[in-house]
């Protein structure tokens, strides 16, 4: 049976759709590229790093197809001002503690919509006279399926806590409203795709490996006497017991001269060691102090002295945000 010759849209319309896709994909690529540095978690960084290049290739393919449709090459065009508004909001979260907000925008809102839009376009693009566009769409669909699977895997990992899940849901609702107000990235969508079946598990194998690399926690090689000293200092810091803290300082280091003074006047309820690094024969220990209203990070450089382990340098900062 011959393939049908009737088509759903003109070459000009097809070019307009590609410019619309290119607009959101290019902005997403640039935002995701920029977010890598602003995102603490390695798993999220690596997934973003992988996807930036795929998105660049999608843009390039859309933009390269345009002259074949009597349009200018590599041109992006938003479907309407509401699409611009949606993208402005999608790009907004830049704080280190907003990784989940960043991921939700791209992987729970934009990409599922893009995937549905590409699928719909592919289904309606004529197979006799639009194979070049269809090939591009088929490649983008395969990539987007994988991106969504990977992004959601990282999201599930980072949003294990109910309060974080609530934040993610709220962010998703807000962005979906904006995308709906724009009538999708092409300006003619009546609705957004239902959440549908979960992505295939095998599409997210790389993301799971990134999570493993992020969560692998070796047993730190802390000597017993140093472990006791670190514990004692941690308790003194939580209690803001300055004489007790001072007992651990090496000769010549005055507490008054350290950044600890910046943390005075704050109550802490507990501490946890988050980093243990080697600097020659000395050890760097990062301690996070958690309090009801804020947290702080204290980094101590421990040196082995004739009196035992002592703190040779102490640095501190309030509200340094970062995952455990």
């Amino acid at each position: 049976m011959p393939l049908p010759l009737d088509g759903n849209f003109s070459a000009d319309h097809s070019a307009r759709l590609l410019r619309n896709y290119r607009y959101v994909v290019e902005r997403t690529m640039r935002a995701v590229g920029g977010w890598i540095a602003l995102t603490p978690e390695i798993s999220a960084k690596l997934v973003m790093g992988r996807h930036v290049w795929d998105l660049a290739q999608h843009c390039d393919a859309f933009g390269g197809r345009l002259p074949e449709l009597r349009a200018h090459a590599q041109v992006s065009e938003p479907a309407n001002p509401d699409v611009v508004r949606f993208m402005d909001h999608l790009e907004e979260p830049e704080r280190p503690d907003q990784t989940v907000e960043r991921l939700v925008g791209v992987y729970s809102v934009l990409k599922p919509h893009l995937l549905a839009t590409y699928r719909d376009h592919l289904a309606r693009a004529n197979p006799v006279y639009e194979p070049p566009t269809r090939r591009i769409l088929a490649r983008c669909i395969a990539d987007e399926e994988r991106h969504i699977a990977e992004g959601r895997t990282i999201l599930e990992h980072l949003a294990a806590d109910p309060s974080v899940r609530a934040r993610a849901a709220s962010r998703q609702r807000g962005l979906e409203e904006l995308l709906l107000a724009a009538r999708g990235v092409t300006g003619d969508a009546a609705s957004l795709p239902p959440s549908g079946a979960p992505p295939r598990r095998d599409l997210a194998d790389e993301a799971r490996e990134f999570i493993r690399l992020e969560t692998a926690r070796p047993t730190w090689p802390i000597p017993e006497d140093l472990a006791r000293a670190i514990g004692s200092l941690g308790e003194a810091l939580v209690a803001t017991d300055e004489p007790a803290v001072e007992r651990w300082l090496a000769d010549g280091l005055a507490l008054e001269a350290t950044a600890w003074t910046l943390l005075r006047g704050t109550r802490y309820s507990g501490y946890r060691i988050t980093a243990f690094a080697r600097l020659g024969n000395q050890r760097l220990v990062k301690t996070r102090l958690d309090g009801p209203s804020c947290s702080a990070v204290v980094t101590a450089r421990w040196a082995c002295t004739p009196e035992g382990w002592r703190v040779a340098a102490l640095d501190a900062g309030r509200d340094a945000v970062g995952p455990a």
Binding site: L46, G49, P96
Partner: protein, 251 residues
């Protein structure tokens, strides 16, 4: 989005301790240790690999920022930088896994941020000159030597993995040379500033004579003359680099 961002916005997991490179070097020298890990033992190889892993992380972050920060740059430039982000993200994974192979862990040594600071240059031409030619050139030296040492100690995993990363780095240097020329076409002053920036980075990463011409086994970091030729550095540039290593100030 903020474009560009301040260098102190670089986000890290809590398991990393960040320090100034100079401070790290001074504290090691004060303990009678070399300022930069040599490759004489598995422990020092591990420390070197940790430093590379952190460098790859910052290279990925830097290339990502370049994709973000210069929306008006030529599209082909964005394509090359996006490709580099992908390459660097694979390198980070490779080095994280090599660290496991060497029984180390991420955060085992302090992180310094010289590379990231270079990647924060405001001009795109300066970034490609400094990062792609200066720092990726250094990577060519370091990885070439690491491949040799891995072969010598009989570690085929280390040898093969780093060999492929080295191939990518050569490509990145070539990209840097191409874009340094294209972005500064018709602007002699911009080109001069970019090259000056690269040379200041070369000088800094001579590490007080740690990098120099010589056999892989005899010097801490050997200038990879052949690899640099392959990457597109001219004979004149290679000679100049070798000369600067001879008069490099103490770290």
């Amino acid at each position: 989005m903020d474009r560009p961002i301040a260098y102190d916005k670089l986000a890290r997991e809590d398991r990393f301790v960040r320090m100034r490179a100079r401070e790290v070097a001074e504290l090691k020298v004060a303990q009678g240790l070399p300022p930069f890990p040599d490759l004489s033992s598995r422990e020092s190889i591990k420390e070197r690999v940790h430093g590379i892993m952190v460098g790859e992380l910052q290279a990925m972050e830097g290339a990502g920022r370049t994709v973000c920060d210069f929306p008006d740059a030529p599209w082909e430039f964005t394509m090359d930088m996006a490709r580099q982000v992908w390459d660097e993200s694979r390198h980070v994974e490779i080095y994280l896994r090599l660290l496991e192979h060497l029984e180390g862990y991420a955060g085992e040594f302090p992180e310094t941020t010289i590379l990231w600071r270079c990647a924060c240059a405001e001009d795109a031409a300066a970034r490609v000159a400094g990062v792609n030619r200066g720092l990726e050139g250094l990577a060519c030296d370091v990885f070439n030597q690491l491949v040799h040492i891995a072969r010598k100690i009989g570690d085929p995993i280390l040898e093969r993995a780093v060999d492929f990363v080295l191939a990518d780095e050569i490509t990145h240097v070539r990209m840097g040379s191409k874009w340094l020329t294209k972005l500064t076409e018709g602007d002699v002053e911009r080109r001069r500033r970019a090259i000056e920036f690269q040379e200041s980075i070369d000088e800094r990463f001579n590490l007080g004579g740690v990098r120099r011409e010589g056999d892989h086994d005899a010097v801490p970091i050997s200038v990879a003359t052949e690899v640099r030729r392959l990457a597109g550095f001219t004979e004149e540039e290679i000679e100049r680099l070798i000369k600067t290593t001879q008069r490099s100030q103490v770290y």
